[in-house]
Amino acid sequence: MDPKLDLLYRLADDQLILGHRNSEWNGLGPILEEDIAFSSMAQDKLGHSLQLYNLLHNLGEAEPDTVAFTRNAPQFHCCQLVELPIGEYDFSLTRHFLFDHAELLRFEALATSSYEPLAQVARKLRGELKYHALHANTWMKRLGTATEEAIERMQGALNFTLPYALGIFETTEAEPEIISSGLFIGEAELKSRWLESITKILAQTALDMPDLNLLTPVNGGRYGQHTEHLQPLLDEMAEVFRLDPTADW
């Protein structure tokens, strides 16, 4: 695949699927204010995916709605982390923390991408992503230093989520060209920045950072291999669209 398309599909699909997943908390969040904040950020992610699908459309791919709503799981390039069900709030917050740190650093790096339209989108999203990371860090620090139950649950969520989070950085065949053409710094460099960034926050909590060398990254998502959870999500997300694909809404 063309390196630009390869990169953009991975970015856009991550945003769409996690945005949809996190929106499932809407109306069910732990308290009203957090419900609104988390739903707003989910909506931001859908907005990001739209901007990225628009870039793909400008490169000759189908309309954003078509791309978002008519593909099946094996045609998605998202990492498996983003497709997992929302679970309990400890898991959803931990996924938000691990993903959004990578997202913030990824778009910071993309702000100087050699592909200017992508660099422009990345610069525009900076403020939003900053808030998302602030939100994640605040909760992580607070719950990670709160009661014994809170610390135990957050540690459990961290241990469970980290192998999936490592799947964010799974590379594709296009990786060498993505780096050499200056499109992006590459997944390995991003991962090392991410590790430094999350370690800094976790150090301010009672949570232990597991040894990443002992973990096996959950890969496959970038190649269309997904968990059993993605297809039902896609069916649910596209339910209205499929009733009348030409409707204007």
């Binding site: 069910l28 009203l32 403020g127």
Partner: protein, 221 residues
């Protein structure tokens, strides 16, 4: 199990009859914080409403999405409700400052001199602090920041505020809080609000639903 058209509800596997909820103690919830925002650079901070939160930093997270989700601003403050001292409310043509209780002489502030740097340092050393002052000009409007004063207590701050801002009227109500109790957004973080105006999809009005309903009705007469 509860069956819903909302698949998310079905996934929760909720029992049909709600479990009897344990009786909670009174006020078993987070405390409240009051939120102020600045609409544009140079404009005064204006009260927008409260949020529930365990701490000021969380209150700020919530305030950001509660009160700037749809309308952009350039800055935001949050203050614990309990840290705000409120005067009595007075009539629409009066000034709340005219109804302040008189302080004993020992507590009443000495008339200050703004350029008195040495005096200022001594005052801070003696335990005086900065207080932010907010006026409500009219019932039904919002409290608005008018400035800061230096004082040794909220009551003294109101007396100093009377001397500095007392000419303004009407002032239906005054709030004061120690400046140290105000969590203020960082100047360098102001880009967190920058894309709000573009998010038209957050406004019901941008979906032009009424237009479509009318068009549908016209076509199906």
């Amino acid at each position: 199990m509860i069956q819903s058209f909302d698949p998310r509800m079905n996934r929760l596997g909720l029992p049909d009859a709600p479990v009897t909820a344990a009786t909670k103690t009174a006020l078993d919830q987070f405390g409240t914080y009051e939120v102020f925002h600045q609409k544009k650079d140079g404009a005064p901070y204006v009260y927008v409403g409260p949020v529930h939160a365990p701490e000021a930093d969380v209150a700020f997270l919530f305030a950001k999405e509660q009160f700037s989700r749809r309308f952009a601003c350039t800055g935001m403050w949050v203050v614990p409700t309990a840290a705000i001292t409120v005067t009595d409310y007075v009539g629409d043509q009066e000034s709340a400052y005219d109804f302040l209780p008189l302080l004993p002489k020992s507590v009443a502030p000495a008339p200050g001199n703004a350029d008195d740097t040495a005096g200022e340092a001594a005052a801070y050393a003696a335990g005086e602090e900065d207080y932010d002052i907010f006026h409500l000009k009219k019932r039904g409007k919002a409290h608005q920041h008018v400035g800061k004063v230096r004082a040794s207590s909220p009551a003294a701050a109101l007396q100093v505020a009377k001397a500095v801002f007392g000419e303004q009227r009407p002032v239906v109500n005054v709030w004061t809080t120690r400046s140290a109790d105000v969590l203020r957004s960082d100047e360098e973080d102001r880009d967190i609000w920058s894309t709000t105006p573009e998010k038209k999809y957050r406004d019901a009005i941008s979906y032009k639903v009424q237009d479509r309903i009318e068009k549908f009705k016209a076509e199906n007469k």
